[in-house]
Point group: D3
């Protein structure tokens, strides 16, 4: 990484040395990263995310990735001439759609991430919620009585297969499908929720949600109004003030549940920024919003 | 399993007792099962195969399943209006086809098998050759110079992820795709070959190929002409006599390679027979052809 | 175990598959079996009991056997011209008798059981309460002041030697003699009590008392009046109603103590029925009386 | 152990300190002691032997005891009115005799030794050659064609159960009966041979035969003619000179076999001397004859 | 250790046997010995102390030594022409003095002890409070406001490095310097206190302070007035009665803190007596004062 | 390490990512660093060296430091009015000098390095060659017959204490004194040699000698004539050409011995350059001379 005889080398060495206290702080700790949305589509960003993950694993941090894959699912449904339908942000999932969801998430997106980690020198294992009974679900019942089909709510997390992977030095990459505990059918589950529940079971140090917003903004239209840190007890007030609203509410709820379950901090960061995970973990202020 | 007050109970207990020497013989040993073809399509047979697998795992045998999924791939290609093309029995695999192969094998067939094992009380982990670098391949070069696209020949087997699963008590289920060592692209690989090479690396006791023929027949048209046992050294003569011919030749070659690599015995059995795996392992004569 | 080309094979395989949920249920659990009385004398039954034990060990159940040997002791006392005397069901045990008890139980009955397990492919270790201080006793004081000699009541159970055997994969077979904690002499102890106390210390799932009655009968003279299941809290009432009476009272007390100590269920079953242990463990209803 | 205010204390402390280099030398090493004959009958000597054993175990030496019990067997046979018959020093062992041998050795002598160790604060496990298949035998065929009955020659030693005991910190006490590999019957085996073969399998540092002679004497009638040390290669000459003769020949053969098998030294010492084991291990010259 | 053909051998063996119950009692237990003062200067006594330590380690006791080195420090300060100053028994420690303290304690006294253990066949590791953060301190504030310089009070004990040594079978020898938690400078700490705090963290069985007095005397001028045993609750009364006074008060406080922290007994013994450690541990009455 | 809202952040993240392949390459490998001379005196450089060491430990490299301390020894000898004498580059070491060497190396330089690592968040253990018998030596005999006193040549390396430290996650810091195997006295040993011999015993990946020259120069007076890489077989020629000469000869010999012993590469680098260790390990070309 150093060029021969150049002054820039010392600067680079200094950067490594600056990283030392952060590496020491998180050594042996577990961090769960939820990865989805646009950050998964741009190839440059995807490469940067994966390198961050491999680096963290390499310096002794136990890293777990939970991913979604909405755009890829839509693309494939389109290919077979099937329309994507959503009710209240949840995908209406009939049997044929569920088959596509399962295939695209667990067969395409998941294994492509595993392959990308492999090409960067890491060793990943691609799992889904069905593997070794990682997640169990029951059918989601929506408030307004609409039948969403194979959409499930998590009822049980059996994290031992993830621990087994981490203890072996592997990076577990987890797609969000799971078995219904009553009918044994495969269901689609929400990736934010899955990441949050898993982070609790793994006694994780951090939960990081990679999104395509800069974090929590005091003024939605002003990116400079980013709130860097939010205390757990201030959330109701922020909801009252409509600063937390819309699609941010369920994300904040996931974070809150993780914190209640013992996770030290939860982060909503902008996955579109190159190396945003490193920037968040290896700096004092971070790049998004930290809840604690 | 026993009905109250019925004479049949003692008979059932006796069956369990008869199984004892076979369980003792294979306790702690590894058996690799290649599963594919029609045995995967009929639901009753699939259920029976899976229960056999779970039972073997449960009585202390380390069981690994390697699977294909040709019919499902064809079905899905058909769905997106793409024709399946084969040259010398190998699928011509362009990039779009490879995407479908990857999704169907690793996302659909693989995770469905994992789910089925879960519903039968076992704990499986669905892997593919990409996970933790299990298989590496180079592009297959056919004798007649036809470019088959993303079809690969195995160059390296890194079985540690499979051992990690077995040591954790899990049943690894493996779909046959793998990374090209030069271009880092995903390739399709032959499931019989993958199973054979893996069985060698795992020092397996047995390699079992579940097929849709009764085994090796002396007279192809007479199912009663089954050859129960073949010695390794007699294979060239059987090829000369055309008793081994056609699609049986590569299967026999896989078996031979496994035997050369230290696997104790290789079995070609009829996956269409209910519980054929149990019948083969738990009996003196078995139901197909055993090579040793 | 399967005969070539016979229809009966599928039936046998189905029996194994039916056993699967029971094997899964008890995998890794500990079961303590008290073995004694007539079930020990008939050679066919003894063989069946031992095969049941070996099978259970082989499918991953941790099995411990505690045995008595009254008839063999009587036989040997007779041989040296010494009469067997009993007070309230307890053997009057002078020093010479104690020598015979020790020799017959720990040297003959115990090692014969170990040998029988060995001949059936299992690996047993024959222990007594003296080995590594497994049981300590004090002299039994009878209510009516009769001096029974070397009859002891258990004061301490140090189960670590049994755990050591189980962890090594061995089947511990335990004869019921133990050291007096005050005089360091060898004492005779009750096998039902020893089995019950040991089952508590081992956090056993089940305690099974193999007897020569069908279980608890509502009408002593009608074998069809078997009570399949008794709840712990109903026992006093059954004693009031004289349904539990005589020699059944101490057996029920042992079971009750085991249940109080955390053992999940206690079973009084008819050891004269072939494979009664398998029938009890591997079926919904069982063959005797289950207390829970 | 020290008396208050007495000059003798320093002397005692000095004795402990003198033992230090010997303890360091044998720490973690395995020593197999064959114990039998008159040293087993005198209670004072028996107590001294057992305390030596417990002390050695306590200072980190892995100690294994193999014992006989001829006099006790004779005593018991006499009790049931049966004569002890010997041919060429081997007991003629019919089925009834074998029963007595088994009971007395494994039930009486063995468990009494275990109890004695327990009373001295050690933890012993009483095993015989039948336990976990420790020894297998075939029927002994005598040179002159006399049928000795159940007398066996060792064909196989499976020492894993002994290692399991040693690893658990226990002292294994082993009585010399074993299963016939062909008929599954129990046989009587020679204790010197059993100790020698076991010492080889355990990679023992020393094999010690406790006898009732002072060791190897240059002149049988002069106890002062003791040969302290014999080199392996000098044995044939000593046999030629009739210095090794009679009952000493098989003992020397056992020692030779142990040495050939890798045991560092073999010792024939006088079990009638109090603490002869300590004296042999913890001193430069020892008290008997050392072969190396 | 035994001379050939001498009557004294049996006596020596008997001494070893007398040690047995004491070895059994402390096997696997941890004993922390504070070593300092005159007992460190006389070479004969030093050799005796070290042999005691090596012997205890060799018979399975986990032994930890904490040492001081006042006389050696004074000697060296003298060599560089620097006077030793004390206030209330504490060394006034300026930076140059601290350098000497560090060098003499950790470089000379400590490694000389390690070497002496090595020459006696033991394996020691020489540590100080700086190694792996074993002790942290803050600057000591004296009651009368005198600035003593680099004299520290322990604020934290991180005993994991000591456990690591003990688990590896090594004898940790610890010199009493430590890092200031605020300024990161090296401080001098009190060895009695360090030994007491460490004994608590290690759940030690015993804390032994080797001093140059016979123990606690009822009449300071009469060595025959030694109090062999003091109960914890009687200490205030003994202070009231001035039986505990002067330099004995802080020593008794260290012992009291150890006892409060769970250490079973604390001993103040006369290090000038040869083998006083053995005499204390291996006898009923001991040679000094035991607090419990 | 990242400043809020600054462009420089991405550059820093990129530096970390560039380090990834080097971290992956050396993960779990052992690197032995010899540290001495001027690089130990300048505080800024010392801090940089220590941070490099802590960083390497933190990213999963097993790092061992062997140090000298000539200038500090000279300084202290000076303080007590004793002159430093050298013959052929070796210190004439009488008993008083040896005492100072031992104290300064093991008590001052060693523990100061340990403290510095502690202040940078690492956990080090300060050892010397005496600890647990790490190095044994015999008295050095110089070619010209001059008696150098306590100067030793290594005769034995018992690296188990170092492995024990590395397995516990600690950084072993080793000062170069050792016991004479014949007289049990403490000797001074050469640090380059000690580092080289230890690197062989630890199967190290790299041996790095931190010196105060830029490496091997083709023209001693031209720092731009640095030879970046030397093949093992070319060394004799370089000696012939006088390119390797003077004090460089023993250093090259140490490197050669390490390479012969299986160490993958040996490096002579300029310790005066800030972060020279990182620059050497984390770059293609390095900053000094690599021998392989």
């Amino acid at each position: 990484m150093f060029s021969k005889g150049s002054n820039i080398n010392l600067d680079k060495a200094n950067v490594l040395i600056q990283a030392l206290p952060y590496i020491q702080k998180f050594n042996g700790k577990t961090i769960v990263v939820k990865y989805g949305g646009n950050a998964m589509i741009n190839e440059d960003i995807k490469n940067a995310v994966i390198r961050d993950i491999v680096l963290l694993n390499c310096v002794g941090i136990k890293i777990v990735m939970v991913h979604g894959g909405g755009p890829e699912i839509n693309g494939f449904l389109n290919k077979i001439g099937k329309e994507s339908k959503f009710v209240n942000g949840l995908r209406v999932t009939d049997e044929e759609t569920m088959d596509v969801v399962q295939m695209v998430l667990s067969g395409k997106v998941n294994k492509d991430l595993v392959a990308l980690i492999g090409r960067n020198g890491g060793q990943a294992i691609g799992l889904c919620g069905v593997d070794a009974g990682l997640f169990n679900v029951k059918k989601h019942v929506s408030n307004d009585g609409v039948d969403l089909g194979y959409v499930g709510d998590i009822t049980n997390v059996n994290e031992s297969v993830v621990r087994n992977c981490l203890d072996g030095g592997y990076i577990p990459i987890i797609s969000t499908i799971a078995l219904g505990q009553e009918d044994g059918k495969v269901y689609n589950i929400n990736a934010d929720t899955a990441a949050a529940e898993l982070s609790v079971k793994l006694n994780a140090e951090k939960l990081i949600l990679l999104t395509d917003v800069p974090g929590l903004l005091r003024d939605r239209n002003d990116e400079n109004s980013l709130i860097s840190e939010v205390k757990y007890k201030d959330i109701p007030k922020l909801i009252d003030e409509k600063i937390i609203s819309g699609g941010m509410i369920p994300k904040i709820e996931c974070c809150t549940n993780a914190l209640k379950g013992g996770v030290k901090s939860a982060h909503i960061i902008d996955g579109r920024i190159l190396h945003s995970i490193l920037l968040e973990i290896f700096s004092q202020d971070g790049v998004g919003t930290m809840l604690s």
